[in-house]
Symmetry: C4
Subunit: 238 residues, 4 copies
């Protein structure tokens, strides 16, 4: 393997991202976050098969876009690493991916409803989330995106959006950086909770497409503010 | 009493299970978890009458399948130990039982609705939960399963399912190991919360029977991942 | 003042009760808990005007049944001490009173609906909570039960029940001991949350009167179990 | 700059207010709280652009009523400082302002519904909250109140009320002191949650105008009680 080592700061950031997502209830004992390799766009970095809350730097494994591990050294890897591989293959702009069973998002997937931006913090949802129905691709399955064909179908369903709901399973968000992907996964959960409540109260006025585009752009300039908070809340890892 | 001592690792695991279930809000000051004795299928291990969060190894008592304590040494035992005894008697495949008043599950029992698997994590719910109506067995009671007759009726109602709701009371889940029973009790609570929300949003597409069976099988291979997290979160007991 | 000093264990227990109620979200910066004086049934013990979470033994003040403080020594007292005074006057069986703005109970009071026992843990609700409408007694007020006339009206509304809802304000629960009053205030909150959810799901089958009476009786024998947990969770005060 | 230094106790109180609001979930990584300068009514104090939970005394910057920073010394400032500036300009009685995305309030803004006082603790809501529709002022924007014109429109919408909802964004509360503004922001969140639940249960009887006015007046005398709790919960800053 002649691939140069990934930036240690990126590896560290992935470990941190796992713990932030756990702290905020986006992942529980399950779910995962990856980043595209900073030295090779055709590789990505993802923890070995383990609970996100426990991930350390040394647990990060390198994968190619067929989801083969380069340096697992016998360690088990996630069954659903294909989610990440195929989104990196399909979307050159995506540098990080979060897959979770974020609780408030689940009811939307199973009722066939889109997430829509209730407030500016979730403007990245834009004109709405995509919805992946695994039955349409492979019939009755174990619900897992555990091979390249399913991963490619999921990536196609995501299209150019920021987040795709997965019926009976969870959701997957992509971003231009680890920080942005974490931000999106976390505020997708917040938005889902607020959208549910708003729908019970009455007719909801969502951000329109122009508002969403403008708000998403300005929000991106504020991500470092909240990342600094999250980083301090987690503290040193190890 | 000529019964050999239970495996200390199993006794330790029951204490740990009590604390995990408390940490995740499945039990509060009430509720209990047992395991079948590893040396004698006609005995089981269950804490003395106490709050689950406080259980230590030395609080675990051995019972026979008539719910008689062998080594209580004067300590009070749970009024509802018959739940455990009769499920172990009826279900040779069950190695551990969790009884709780897990909050989100209660509204289903009192409205006569089944838990159904909203997502793959709760695929063990399969084609739905059973519902135990104690009034049908014994008229107006104190709601407790406090004798063998009521325990046997509950076990019969559970049948071959993984979980039975108890109207106006709580629920009971069985599993093939302590880990699996804890997992099921915890994700039954999560599923109930999500199912309630989904029903308020619209028509729910649950996992079908084939999906549930396949997902339950693959999920069982992932339980050690989350158990390791829970074990570390509790830390050493004592 | 010739009144003998109250049992220090009772004073300590009141301080502990304040902190338990805060830990479980029954009170926030507001709300209070009292006990009838163990040496004089015509006196009661209640903290000075302060946040429940901060109450220590030395903050407990003695009051007569007209809500006059005997030993406030210049310290401010609660505006609503009349709630306690008049319930002790009207109900010889009540030894402790909790007044709170327990959140899930509020929506019942303002929509004119009764708490009813969803599960055996809240069997003490019996055939339903009382509802106090302060407007019927005194027209448009500041909503506070801040004199004897309002206190007496509240006590009359409570009648022989365990809990009275106060429209636009909160609720008040009485018990035969500090432990029982705390238990009732806490499980009234739990019951309210579950009852709301159940009502959204469908037609609710509550405990009937016979079930509630029997379950309440047996539950009272289990209160020491949960009190021991709560006591350990708070730890030493000071 | 000849402006005398603000009272250090006030600066400290603003840092404390930021942390209280974070602890209680009124702000997350976003949101801000300011106070009018105690030596100059035409200036106010507000943190530099950062997460509220991390604010220390030295992060507080002085602004004039055009939202120009006097002593930022190159530090980034909040894009929405105009919210504060224009409310101080319009409302001589306001001494402190909290802007947040307080979650339970959001569903009201996006469905065009007013907060109304469900219980006496939120009597300051009076006859209802105002609602700011930024589209009416500036068409499709990034949703931020990021200039004086938008700030003035928001202040005009607030009028003499205590709180204004901002559609698709959040809310802003004003008070006669830092303590009061924090109290209002926090209990607006509580009220919103209870009001949502009450509306799902049935027809809601809110405090009427007379009750609200009387309750708000008496509650204001109790704010020091809860502030003492919050202060102790945060502990020393730094």
């Amino acid at each position: 393997m002649t691939l140069p080592a990934a930036d240690p700061a990126l590896v560290e950031k992935i470990a941190l991202a796992n713990r932030i997502l756990y702290r905020y209830g986006v992942v529980d004992g399950f779910g995962h976050v990856s980043a595209r390799h900073d030295k090779s766009p055709s590789h990505f970095l993802l923890a070995r098969n383990m609970a996100p809350a426990l991930v350390k730097r040394e647990d990060i494994v390198t994968f190619d876009l067929d989801a083969n591990a380069l340096d697992a050294a016998g360690r088990r890897v996630y069954l659903e690493r294909f989610i990440h591989a195929e989104i990196y293959r399909a979307r050159a702009d995506v540098q990080a991916v979060v897959h979770s069973h974020s609780p408030s998002v689940i009811p939307f997937g199973v009722t066939g409803q889109m997430l829509q931006p209730v407030f500016h913090m979730s403007a990245f949802v834009g004109e709405g989330s995509a919805l992946f129905e695994i039955r349409d691709v492979a019939g009755d399955t174990d619900m897992l995106v555990s091979n390249g064909k399913l991963g490619a179908a999921l990536a196609a369903c995501l299209g150019s959006r920021s987040i795709v709901l997965m019926r009976g399973h969870g959701s997957t968000a992509g971003g231009g950086s680890v920080e942005q992907a974490v931000y999106r996964a976390l505020y997708a959960e917040v938005n889902a909770r607020l959208q549910m409540q708003a729908k019970l109260l009455g007719e909801v006025k969502y951000l329109n497409a122009q508002e969403a585009a403008k708000a998403a752009a300005i929000n991106d300039t504020q991500v470092p503010r909240v990342w600094e908070l999250w980083r301090q809340e987690i503290g040193p890892i190890e």
